[in-house]
């Protein structure tokens, strides 16, 4: 299957961002475990692993702009909407459970983890719908 130029560009960006994420996370975790960071530099360092993750959201936005095939663009939009609904539903439910003291607190970056999990759910939905009538 031939991939569009937009898909290839998107894939390249995501691979680079994932490498940056892994590198920044390992560096920051090591630095904090050795108590090498304090004060303002600690805040800057702590935010570093978030930047490549934010970059992936931007890469999806760029893909939607650059993709010239409107059907493929629609599939990515649907996938992203399913991911957003998946993440928001779980986060909202968890928030109420947490508010009533029934479950422990979970750090907010798990919202991004859930969103990426939701992208897989959306991908699966697209596969099922695409194959049903093919």
């Amino acid at each position: 299957m031939a991939y569009s130029a937009a898909v290839r560009q998107y894939s390249r960006r995501v691979i680079v961002l994932m490498i940056l994420y892994a590198a920044s996370l390992m560096t920051v975790v090591y630095s904090f475990s050795r108590h090498l960071l304090t004060g303002p530099p600690a805040y800057v360092a702590a935010i570093l692993p978030a930047l490549p993750v934010i970059g992936i959201f931007a890469a999806i936005g760029r893909y939607l702009i650059e993709e010239t095939d409107e059907y493929m663009r629609m599939l990515m939009i649907r996938q992203s909407l399913i991911a957003s609904g998946f993440m928001l539903s779980i986060v909202t439910a968890w928030g109420f459970l947490e508010g009533f003291g029934l479950v422990p607190h979970i750090v907010s970056y798990y919202a991004a983890v859930l969103w990426f999990a939701g992208m897989w759910v959306g991908w699966g939905y697209n596969i099922v719908v695409t194959r049903r009538a093919a």
Binding site: M1, T68, D69, E70, Y71, M72, M74
Partner: protein
């Protein structure tokens, strides 16, 4: 939206890939349009009509006229 894309393509002995290349879209797009799972935008519908030298109404059936 029902359409005659598959028939028109077969008359010219084109595969879905051939039509996709001529339209500048993916084969999946052609498949989705042919099977009525995806309604093309107006610019793409015009492009399809111009490729077959037909009007949009000659290729696509208006949903209000579908039985």
């Amino acid at each position: 939206m029902k359409n005659r894309l598959k028939v028109l393509r077969a008359e010219r002995d084109w595969s879905q890939g051939d039509l996709a290349d001529r339209l500048g879209v993916s084969r999946q797009s052609v498949n989705a349009i042919e099977t009525g799972r995806y309604d093309p935008s107006l610019p793409l519908a015009f492009k399809i009509a111009e490729l077959f030298d037909l009007s949009i109404e000659d290729i696509f059936t208006s949903p209000s006229k579908e039985s």
